[in-house]
Structure formats: C-alpha cells, structure tokens
Amino acid sequence: MNRLTIERIIKLGLVNFWRNRWLSLASALVMTLTLIVISIFVILTLVIGRTSDIIKSKMDITVYFNDSATTDQISELQQVLASRPDVKEVAYTSKEEAEKIWEQTQTSQALKNIASELGENPFPRSIAIKATDPSKLDAIAGVINSATYQSIIHKVSYQDNKVLIGRLISITTFTKEIGWIFSAVFVIMSVLVVLNTIRLAIYSRKDEIEIMRLVGANDVFIKTPFIVEGIIYGLLACFLATILLWLGFLSLQPLITEHFDPGVALGVRVFYYSHFGWLFLMQFIIGVAVGIGAALFSIRKYLRI
C-alpha cells in the first residue's frame, strides 16, 4: 500500500466520522466514559494497594505493660525479642515519654492537661517491636502472648492492627473485583455502541461501497476506512478521558488539601503526575483496541463484499 492509498483511506475514515458526527460523538463519549471508569478503578486499586503496603511496612507490635511489671521483667522480654533473628527493632517507651507523645499529638489544651490533672501519669510503659518482614509478626506475637508474660502485659496492639490490615486487604480485593466487573461491563457497552455506529456508517455508505466494489476497489480500500473510524473514536475518547480526569483531579485537589495534611495532598499530586503517562498509555491502548475490535466485528458481520 503506497502513501497515496493510505492518505485516501484515512481521508475516507475522517469523512465517515464527520458525516455521522453526532452519532460518532456519542460513540466516542461512551468510550470516554468507559476509559474514565477503568482509569478510576485502576487509580483506586493502585492507591489502596500502595496504602496497604505502606501500612504493612509500618506495622509493628506494641506491648503495653501493667504498672506492676518490674523493669527487670520488661527488659527480659525486650532481650528475648531483640535476640530473635526476625525482629528488626525493639523500642522502649517510658511513662514520661508516652505522656510527652500524648501532649504533642493533642491539639486541645484541656486534653493536654489531663495527665497532670489526674495527679499521676496514666500512660503505660510500652515496647514497640518491628519485624524484618511484616509476615513474621504472627510468630513474634505468639511469643509475646505466651503464658510466661501474661502477668506483666496490659495490652498487645497487634490484634487491632491485624483486623485493620485484614479489612484493608479485603477492601483492595473488593475494589479490584468491582473494578473488573465495571470495566468489563463498560468495555462491552462501548464495543456495542461503536459496533452499532459503524454498522450505521456501513449502511449509510451502502451505495458508495457498492460502487467501490463495482469499479474494482480492493477489499482493503473498502474496509480500512471503517477501521480508521474506529481508531478515531478510540483516540478521541482517550484524549477526552485524559482531559476530564485531569480536570476532575484539579477540582478534587482543594478538597484533599482541606481535609488532609499538606503531605497527603503533595503525595496524591506526585502520585497522579508520576502515573499520568502510564494512565494515558493505558487509555490509548484500550480506546484504540476497542475501536479496532468493534470496527472489525462490524465489518465482518455487516459488510458484504
């Protein structure tokens, strides 16, 4: 196929698109919606996955001791844990340090004074254990929960964290599953709409196709303009989806800044822009693939040459 033929085929595709412009635009918009839905689910899955990774890496076991526990007992447990190969770090927090942390994290003065008003420091001593790998935490928790130490331990925070992590993982899985279902439904929907649009384009150009066939045009010349049309839908949808997602992100930013701390807002911004190219490529591939796929199907089904 020479340059001239390619030019003519592209021109015919563009003419097809323009001749049924409202229908073409509707098809491109449905495809845009599909790409937006898929992108949102991909972003959500990535964000939740990343968050749970961060939480997992920060996960530790905090053991709070009864006030009756002696320093020796605590340091014995501390040594037992520190000597384990799967323990990365054991950090001790005294009652005074715990109070300071409390004071620093509270914004209300009344709450800050609560400890001094009580007359005695209500915060327990604690040790925070970090594992070399979060999956090792279970084994470490087993040692801590053994009968030997029950008398000195007030509370172990691991169980609470474990529930939280479990919930996070189930949310991720749920989001992924829902994402797949929604994406599949939308892909099918846009394939059907594009298919129908191209079918109508084939129908509206019935005479032209007949004449092309009659005067000896190649199959490629007759069929390819419809594939070009499909590609145009995909490209248009890809650009529209990118622009709309970007606008959506821009309008969400003030909300993120308002409700979360500046670090989070910056993190989200960095995350979005670092994945921008990747998202665009994904939309481009899905858009063009759906366009070509639907066009090919339509040609096979409705174009008799």
Binding site: N2, L4, T5, R8, D207, E208, E210, I211, M212, R213, L214, V215, G216, A217, N218, D219, F221, I222
Partner: protein
C-alpha cells in the same frame, strides 16, 4: 472467443430457475443485445459475468480463464476490466460529475496525474465535459447515464456491460445512449446490452440473444426483438 458462458445454471429456489443451461460466446469487438422480458434472467447473467454471483453449474470464461475460480484478491482487478452500467446510474449524489468519475480511479490507487489526464478525456468522450462541476441532481437522466458510462470506461475495460441503461430514459435520450455505446464499441470494446426495449434492438441491427425463462431461445447475428 473473449467471453464464453458454458452451460450455466442458477436457481434461487426450487421454483425459481433464473438461468437454465445457458451457453453464449462473444468475440472481440462484438455488440450483443440480450433481450427478454422482466424475469428472463438478464440481470442474473450480468451478475455471473461480473462475478458477483456464482452459478450452480457451468463455467464462465473470460479471455480463456474461468472467472469462477478467481481468488478474492483477484476479483477487484477483474472488475476493472469489465465496466458495468445500470438502469439507476448508481452515482454518488454528493459528488460532482468529475468527482464521480475520479472516485473510480481513486479507490483503485491511481496517481493524481493519471486522474487529471484521464477524467476530462473520458468526460469529453461521453459529451459531459461541460457539466463536470455539476452534481447528479442537476443533470437529466440521459446525462446521468453518460456519467455512469464514463465511470465504467475509466479503467479502459475490454468489456462494457449495460444492464437496462435506457430503462429510465425517454426515447431521444435512450437513443443517444445507445449511440454512445455503439461509438464505444467501434473503438474495440465488447458491449453487452441487456434490454427489453424493442425499438432500440430493432434499430440497432446487431446480434440479438433472446432470453426467456432463463433459457436462450434464439441467437441471431442481425436480429430484431421477437418473442
């Protein structure tokens, strides 16, 4: 013989036999009128000759080659060698006279220079050069048929098949079209005219093949229209 139709049969259902054992030979430079009433099988024969439909039996040889055995990718090239003209002209309404003829070359990958050279020459041949920028809607029936003939001639075909080309025309315009077809024939192109217009056939005094109920009833070198 350039065209040989050998024992061709075609049936659309048990009751409708469009063609029954039709045999026909056409030599170089011939002008053949195939006549017969509606439903005689003329249009089916056209579709066999242009390879749009395959017969149930028999073979169709063009320049010694059985066109029924053409591979799909060879068909477009074959169709460029056979020009076809229809009763309803089949022009694209949104394209001008010039564009309609140029379109036939464009879709076959012709270079712009070839298009610029050929189209005006062919429009001149059919007497439509002056109307080159008009749309089909602005033309009379006869003029439209001339454009349709110009388009059919654009690939310099060896064979021109005209399926009821005068069916929508008044007698004056009809005769002008037949006159044009005769001139094209005199330049060496085989013309196969499908018609049921008695006046035209009688006046032409050329070979006439009579088709009725899918069968060849007569084949006369200088015939008239007798059923």
């Amino acid at each position: 013989m350039l065209i040989e139709v050998v024992d061709v049969c075609k049936k659309y259902s048990d009751k409708i036999h469009a063609l029954e054992h039709v045999s026909l030979s056409v030599d170089k430079g011939e002008f053949v009128s195939v006549v017969g009433p509606s439903g005689a099988g003329k249009s089916t024969l056209v579709r066999m000759l242009t390879c749009e439909e395959k017969p149930d039996g028999g073979k169709v040889l063009v320049a010694g080659r059985n066109i029924l055995q053409l591979k799909p990718h060879e068909l477009p090239y074959f169709r460029r060698k056979v020009g076809v003209v229809f009763q309803d002209f089949k022009l694209l309404p949104q394209k001008t006279v010039y564009e309609n003829v140029a379109f036939a070359l464009e879709v076959c990958g012709a270079e712009p220079k070839e298009i610029h050279d050929k189209v005006p020459r062919i429009l001149d041949l059919v007497g439509m050069l002056k109307r080159r920028d008009n749309l089909p809607d602005e033309l009379s029936g006869g003029e439209r048929q001339r454009v349709s003939i110009a388009r059919a001639l654009v690939h310099s075909p060896k064979i021109l098949i005209a399926d009821e080309p005068t069916g929508n025309l008044d007698p004056v315009n009809a005769w002008e079209i037949i006159d044009l077809l005769s001139r094209i024939n005199s330049r060496g192109t085989i013309v196969i005219l499908m018609t049921h217009n008695k006046a035209i056939v009688d006046r032409l005094k050329r070979r006439v093949v009579l088709l009725k109920n899918g069968k060849v009833l007569s084949d006369k070198v200088k015939g008239g229209y007798i059923i």
